[in-house]
Symmetry: C2
Subunit: 502 residues, 2 copies
């Protein structure tokens, strides 16, 4: 390796370290805005966040960064540096390729559309919303066209690349195509079989301090490092902060502990991934989480593979009783009853309220539609009918005239995030495949869960996924960890085993 390329790589490390440090401050200020900030401070905070965002964009897209990447890449043989440069280039390319004018124009229309959406949705105002969405779509198509030209991918695939690098429609069509084959039948079978099953909901009121104590104890069980992270409250739960200081949030309701507890378990999955990313090269893109889908794979591994298993419910049942019933053994807290509650399948309109079985239908529907919208095969005006038709087909529900519970329910499109939705179901598939791989290495994994001996699971994830950061492509990562590329059949088997009676 020449001195020049060495020097260029060092300059890149310095620049990306600087970006990481500045992003640290944005991340904490964003967390604070959602979890701590009084509402009157919102304008000043938004201005401060926009300012540093402009500044980091300039530092990332500066022409010297491209030159350094070129100089460093020319002669590097070292495989770690190659991976590191690949991820630097990806970030730089994503940020540099879009002209500043378009970034600004799109930021204006998305911010306008999202803001109006907050009142248009409850009013079911499709006419008002669709006009704004049309503007967002137009500029997103323009962005996708530019990204398409620079990558040689289709417009939609070029957007997908932002969230799920290396994943293209062809592979998604195949994966989701398989799911479409069996999913409507699974949904019907599960709901049919559950019709006659009786269960009892645990009754509140649950005090916030009890729900919080329960959450903290479950997070500890799941390996969350409180020396480098916190749990707080916000309107919409999320995992924020930085790998060195992970901030997760939840919300507590006095009549339901299940939602907040499962939310905490989900965010703890994201958190443990972040807390166990490579620590020797913090701030370099090669040390970041691999993709949105792999990230969601960790949170769904925690929530679905571990969290809703009978063994885990048996493990946390004493904690529920300790914190929520003052130690009383109530019928609603019997293991069979809890398992029944945790496994209910019920088709519904709203994605974020969907169970594990119906959830993929919500995603596949959105994937089909957003792909068509971005590739120019569907107009905004056709969206409600397309939505209704697919809801009928997958979940047997009509959204005719019901825009607010149909195509207006999500924040993603108004905020311009086209290409994000597939990550949710990819995550569910990654999680199922990872759990299947762990079962072959640790055959007694289920009994370990019921004993609370989770360390071997976390060690496996840490070794195979978490500590790898973005060293490998998603596909390489899955092959190294599980022996094969993403395969939807593990997810199918998982749902079949958990939800269908033979």
């Amino acid at each position: 390796m020449s001195d020049q390329s060495n020097n260029a790589y060092e300059k890149l490390v310095e620049r990306f370290t600087k970006l990481h440090r500045l992003n640290h401050l944005s991340a904490i200020a964003n967390w604070d805005q959602a979890a701590m900030m009084p509402s009157g401070s919102n304008r000043a905070r938004s201005e401060a966040l926009a300012e540093i965002s402009t500044l980091t964009h300039e530092l990332l897209t500066a022409s010297e960064v491209g030159d350094w990447i070129q100089a460093a890449s020319d002669k590097t043989q070292d495989s770690f540096k190659k991976a590191s440069l690949r991820e630097m280039e990806r970030q730089w390319q994503h940020a540099s390729v879009i002209p500043a004018d378009l970034v600004k124009a799109r930021s204006l229309v998305t911010s306008n559309c999202e803001h109006a959406w907050r009142s248009q949705r409850p009013e079911n105002d499709w006419q008002g919303f669709s006009k704004n969405l049309q503007e967002v779509l137009q500029l997103t198509r323009e962005e996708a066209r530019i990204r398409s030209e620079s990558t040689g991918l289709s417009p939609y695939d070029a957007m997908l690349e932002l969230y799920e690098s290396g994943m293209h429609s062809q592979q998604l069509d195949a994966l989701f195509g398989e799911v479409k084959q069996w999913l409507p039948d699974y949904v019907q079978q599960a709901t049919e079989q559950q019709k006659s099953v009786q269960y009892q909901m645990p009754e509140g009121p649950f005090a916030t301090e009890h729900l919080k104590a329960l959450s903290l104890e479950v997070m500890t069980l799941l390996g969350f490092d409180f020396n480098r992270g916190r749990l707080d409250v916000s309107a919409h739960p999320f995992c924020g902060g930085v790998p060195e200081d992970v901030r997760i949030t939840t919300r507590y309701r006095d009549n339901d502990f299940i939602e907040s507890l499962m939310g905490v378990i989900h965010e703890t999955g994201h958190a443990c991934y972040n807390q166990n990313l490579p620590a020797d090269t913090p701030g370099l893109p090669v040390s970041f989480g691999r993709s949105m889908g792999i990230h969601e794979g960790q949170s769904l591994f925690f929530e679905m593979q571990i969290g809703r298993s009978r063994e885990f419910l048996a493990l946390i049942r004493p904690l529920l009783i300790k914190h929520l019933t003052q130690g009383k053994e109530l019928p609603a807290y019997q293991l069979d009853n809890l398992e029944t509650i945790y496994r209910r399948v019920q088709p519904g309109f709203i994605r974020i309220e969907a169970d594990e079985v119906t959830y993929p239908a919500h995603i596949i529907l959105r994937y089909d539609i957003e792909k068509a919208l971005i590739n120019g095969d569907m107009a905004v005006a056709d969206l409600p009918d397309a939505w209704n038709e697919k809801m009928q087909k997958y979940l047997n529900l009509s959204t005719q005239g019901n825009y607010k519970d149909g195509c207006m329910q999500d924040i993603h499109w108004p905020s311009g995030a086209f290409g994000y939705f597939p990550s949710y179901t990819l995550g569910a598939m990654f999680a199922a495949q990872l759990f299947a791989a762990i079962q072959t290495t640790i055959p007694d994994v289920h009994s370990r869960i019921s004993r609370g001996d989770l360390s071997s699971i976390f060690d496996w994830l840490k070794e195979n996924i978490w500590s790898q950061g973005s060293r490998y492509t998603t596909s390489e990562l899955m092959v190294r960890a599980t022996g094969e590329d993403l395969n939807a059949s593990f997810f199918q088997q998982h749902l079949k085993k958990r939800y269908l009676i033979d």
Copy 2:
């Protein structure tokens, strides 16, 4: 005004607005570090804060800023813009005049000295500490020399300028010289008179939630705007955040409510100043608080002038009983007893534990010593003897061999903050003079306090001090508000009236 100077002024507004927004993120991250952050995240946080500090230093000291100030100042007639440019130039000058090498070297030795001091102080290790302090002093003298050359002030006055612009040793010598005349006698009289007075301390344990509820209610009474600020907990109470989002902290002890409550009242004074600074030009130096002394003047106005008055104690007595005794009328909560507790005078070694009467002795002692150290009239080796001699003289206490409760007790010198101490006692003097001025405008101010009708006091402060920001020099501000420049006799009268029996 020419187009060019207009243009230059606009560029300055843009630059200082950008700095204000970036400083917003630092301020929130600093608050978070003290009030929220888990300890394991400290290194990453410190690196992030250092990074943005380097960046804002570069943006402030860039050569174009000097050019713009020159161009804008040349032709400006507008008095607001003149003041605005004066404050911009002051900030720019303070930051630009010190070479980057010296900034870095001094940052290293102060960080080293402060870090070592944390363990050297409890060990009473003067030998170890004095070696580090010598390094800090050497580089601070070098900084003071450069500031002295650029301002034409003496080295110490050039450092003082950083905290208390326009205040020089000559005026301080006169002000503090007066205090030295009567203070030892006041301390002796007050302690003598209080010898035989009996009182009863309110007994804990006090639950944190009760102390917090009490604090929040008192802050509301004092006009804190919770829509743009918060109260939290940290090891060392402070007022942080930004004017648009003020974050104050306290600490709760289960055996004492007085310290946390008076701390909250003190920080609320800082907070109300910040929350009522000029809102139409946020981010411009002309909108910042006038000086450390004026800031301390507001916090001591709240704590000493209002907070420890008999009328205010009468006002909050029902709140103490409501939150701390479950509504019971206990002897310790009788007004006379509370007043006795709040007015105890007791010479002691430790500045931060000192009462209102002995506090100025601690400051004047430090002022005399730090002035001599910076001006080269005293060596570090002479410090303990000088300290002991002055403690004997002012408070009749010996610190012979007791370094940890003597010249090693404060963080200021190890961290390089020479010139800061006078602000504390200047603040007490400003507060007394402002209260005296209010009394002439609102003769029934005392009965208003006991009725809880504090708005006229706050309106007066808002009009005369808070909303003025840095529009006027400290001296002009005081003349406009009270009819004369700072005059120590108001403080003397205040202490005499409150602490000495005729």
